[in-house]
C-alpha cells in the first residue's frame, strides 16, 4: 500500500506542478526569441494549405446592397496628423499623386483624376479585422493589376509594398504593408477611391486605400502615397514586410 500511496502522491504533485508550470511557462515562452519563431511554423503551414485548396483567382464573397453595414467603421488611423496630408485633404486631393517605383521598367505617377479615368471595378465585400469584427462596404477603384501592366514589373519583383501617409501612435512610423504578386494581380485587389458611392472618407483612408479581399484588414493599407515593387523586405521597416508584421503579427493574413 505504501507504494500505491507514493505513486498517488507523485501523480498529485505532478498534476498540480504541471498546471502551475504550464501557465507561467506559456507566458515565459511567449517572451523568448525562439518559441514564437517555432510557433510561426504554422503560418507557413496555413498559407501552404490554404493556397493548395484555392486557385490564384479564387474570389472572395461579394454581397448585395442589403448587406451593407449602416456605417463603415473606421479603424487604425482615423485622421493622419501630417500637416501636408491635411492641407492636401483640404484641397480635395487635387494635387495628390500616387507614385509607382522600385523594380519596374517604367516608373510613373498618377493623379487622383487619372486613376478615376481608368476602368474601374465595384465590389461589395466584407472587411474582417484581425480583432474579430467584420463590416461590409461597397468599394470602387482601379485594379492594381491594371497599373502593374502599365509599369511592367521586372522579373525579380516579388512583393508590392504600400507606403502610407499615416504616422502610427506608438512611434510615429509611417504605415507600410505588403502583398505578394499573386494578390497584386488578383481581380478583387483594387486601389479604392470610393466607399458606398461617395469619395473615400479620410477616416477610411482617403484618397486611396488598397482592398485585398482574401486577407485581414491590416493588409489593406490606407492613405497610400506610393507603391514600391521589391524582391525582399530587407530595407522595409524591420524586415517583416509591414508595420504590424514588424510588431509580431503574421505576414500571411488569410487566416
Amino acid at each position: 500500500m505504501a507504494l500505491v500511496n507514493d505513486r498517488r502522491r507523485f501523480f498529485r504533485r505532478a498534476l498540480s506542478g504541471a498546471a502551475v508550470l504550464a501557465l507561467s511557462g506559456c507566458d515565459r515562452l511567449s517572451r523568448t526569441e525562439w518559441f514564437p519563431k517555432f510557433l510561426g511554423i504554422s503560418e507557413s503551414l496555413s498559407s501552404a494549405a490554404q493556397h493548395l485548396i484555392t486557385t490564384r483567382k479564387s474570389m472572395a464573397q461579394e454581397f448585395t446592397e442589403a448587406d451593407l453595414s449602416p456605417q463603415f467603421r473606421s479603424n487604425g488611423t482615423a485622421k493622419p496628423n501630417d500637416p501636408q496630408y491635411q492641407a492636401m485633404a483640404a484641397r480635395g486631393f487635387s494635387d495628390y499623386r500616387l507614385e509607382l517605383r522600385g523594380l519596374i521598367e517604367q516608373p510613373v505617377s498618377f493623379s487622383l483624376a487619372e486613376l478615376r479615368e481608368l476602368p474601374s471595378r465595384t465590389q461589395i465585400t466584407r472587411h474582417d479585422c484581425v480583432e474579430g469584427w467584420s463590416a461590409i462596404g461597397k468599394w470602387k477603384g482601379v485594379q492594381l493589376s491594371m497599373l502593374l501592366e502599365r509599369v511592367r514589373p521586372k522579373p525579380e519583383a516579388r512583393y508590392v509594398v504600400f507606403r502610407c501617409a499615416d504616422a502610427m501612435e506608438n512611434d510615429g512610423t509611417l504605415y507600410y504593408e505588403s502583398i505578394d504578386m499573386e494578390d497584386a494581380y488578383h481581380p478583387q485587389t483594387i486601389l479604392a477611391y470610393q466607399l458606398n458611392d461617395a469619395p473615400l472618407p479620410v477616416a477610411n483612408g482617403a484618397p486611396i486605400r488598397v482592398r485585398v479581399e482574401r486577407q485581414l484588414g491590416y493588409k489593406m493599407a490606407k492613405f497610400i502615397t506610393s507603391i514600391e515593387l521589391v524582391s525582399t523586405f530587407d530595407h522595409i521597416g524591420r524586415g517583416k514586410g509591414g508595420y504590424w508584421e514588424d510588431l509580431g503579427y503574421q505576414w500571411y493574413a488569410g487566416i
Binding site: C26, S42, R214
Partner: protein, 292 residues
C-alpha cells in the same frame, strides 16, 4: 476501450486474501497518447482563444458585426456611481455586473482594467493578440492532425465499432443508465470494462459533432478559406455567426470536460487516471467483491 482479448491483460491479484481484483487493459497506447495531446491542445486553444476574443469582446449574429442589430453578447465597462470602473456583461441586451470577472478585472499591477476575460484565463496573460494568434494557430494544427489520426485509428482498429458504437442492449438499457448516472451509481465487474451508453453517446457527440463544428467554424473565420466556395459560410449564418458558434462550441467543450472530469472523480480517480496513463484499469471481480 480494450485492444481485443488477445492483448488483454488479465493478471489477477490477491490482496489481503479477501478482495479479488484484476487489472484489465482498457486503453490502447495510441488512444492514451492522443487523449493527452488533446488535453494539452484544447487547454491552450481555449486560453489563447479567450485572449483573441478579448481583442474585440463582443459576439454578433449575421454576415458582419455592423448589420444594424446590436451584439448578442458584449463585455465592456461603465462608470459606477462613485466613478469606479464597473465590468459589464450584456447578453441579448440584458446587463449584468461582472466586475472582477468579465469586462473589467485585475491588470498587471492588480488595478481594475478593462478586459473581456480575466488575465488568469488567457494565453498569454496580458492582452497580446499577435502572440495569442501564434499559439492558437500552431495548436490548432496539432489538434486537427491529432483528430484526423484518432478518427483513422478508431476506424482501422475497430475501436469505434467495438467500443463506441452503442449496441442494441445499450439502447434498451438507456433508461437505467440515466437513472444510474443521476444516482451516481457506477458499474463494477464485467460491466465496468465497457463504456456505458450515455458515455458512448457523449463521446460520439463530441468527436463527430462538437469537434468538427469548432474546426469548421474556425475555418469559416478565415477570409482566404471563404474564397474556396464563396458564400459557404452563409450556411451557418455568415462570418460573425460562425465566430459566435465557435465560441459556443468552445464552452460546450468546457462543459463536457467538467462533466467528464467529475465522472472520473466519482468513479475512482486513480483507477481512471492509471488506465489513461498505463492503460490498466482495476476491475473488482464479481462474486468475491469485498468478501468479509
Amino acid at each position: 476501450m480494450s485492444t481485443g482479448s488477445d492483448t488483454a491483460y488479465q493478471g489477477s491479484l490477491e490482496r489481503g486474501g479477501a478482495e479479488t481484483s484484476s487489472l484489465y487493459y482498457r486503453h490502447a497506447l495510441p488512444v492514451r497518447i492522443m487523449h493527452w495531446i488533446n488535453v494539452l491542445t484544447l487547454t491552450i486553444l481555449l486560453m489563447s482563444g479567450l485572449n483573441i476574443f478579448n481583442a474585440h469582446p463582443a459576439l454578433y449574429w449575421g454576415k458582419s458585426s455592423y448589420t444594424g442589430a446590436g451584439p448578442i453578447l458584449e463585455m465592456t465597462t461603465k462608470e459606477g456611481p462613485n466613478g469606479a470602473l464597473v465590468g459589464v456583461t450584456r447578453i441579448f441586451g440584458r446587463e449584468f455586473d461582472t466586475t472582477g470577472l468579465f469586462g473589467a478585472s485585475a491588470g498587471e499591477n492588480g488595478e481594475l482594467t478593462p478586459r473581456g476575460f480575466p488575465s488568469w484565463s488567457t494565453i498569454p496573460d496580458n492582452q497580446w493578440l499577435a502572440m495569442a494568434r501564434a499559439w492558437h494557430f500552431f495548436f490548432a494544427w496539432v489538434f486537427v492532425l491529432n483528430g484526423i489520426s484518432y478518427v483513422i485509428y478508431s476506424i482501422a482498429s475497430r475501436h469505434l465499432a467495438r467500443d463506441l458504437k452503442p449496441t442494441a442492449t445499450d439502447w434498451r438499457g438507456i433508461g437505467r443508465s440515466i437513472k444510474d448516472h443521476v444516482l451516481f451509481r457506477h458499474p463494477s465487474g464485467e460491466a465496468s470494462k465497457r463504456y456505458n451508453v450515455l458515455q458512448k453517446l457523449a463521446y460520439l457527440v463530441v468527436i463527430f459533432g462538437l469537434l468538427p463544428l469548432i474546426i469548421l467554424m474556425g475555418w469559416a473565420m478565415s477570409p482566404w478559406l471563404n474564397s474556396v466556395f464563396p458564400g459557404w459560410i452563409d450556411v451557418f449564418g455568415g462570418r460573425q455567426s460562425a465566430r459566435t458558434l465557435h465560441f459556443i462550441a468552445a464552452w460546450a467543450l468546457v462543459a463536457f470536460v467538467l462533466i467528464h472530469v467529475f465522472e472520473v472523480f466519482i468513479s475512482g480517480v486513480w483507477n481512471n487516471l492509471r488506465s489513461m496513463i498505463t492503460g490498466r484499469y482495476r476491475v473488482k471481480e464479481e462474486g468475491h467483491g469485498s468478501g468479509k
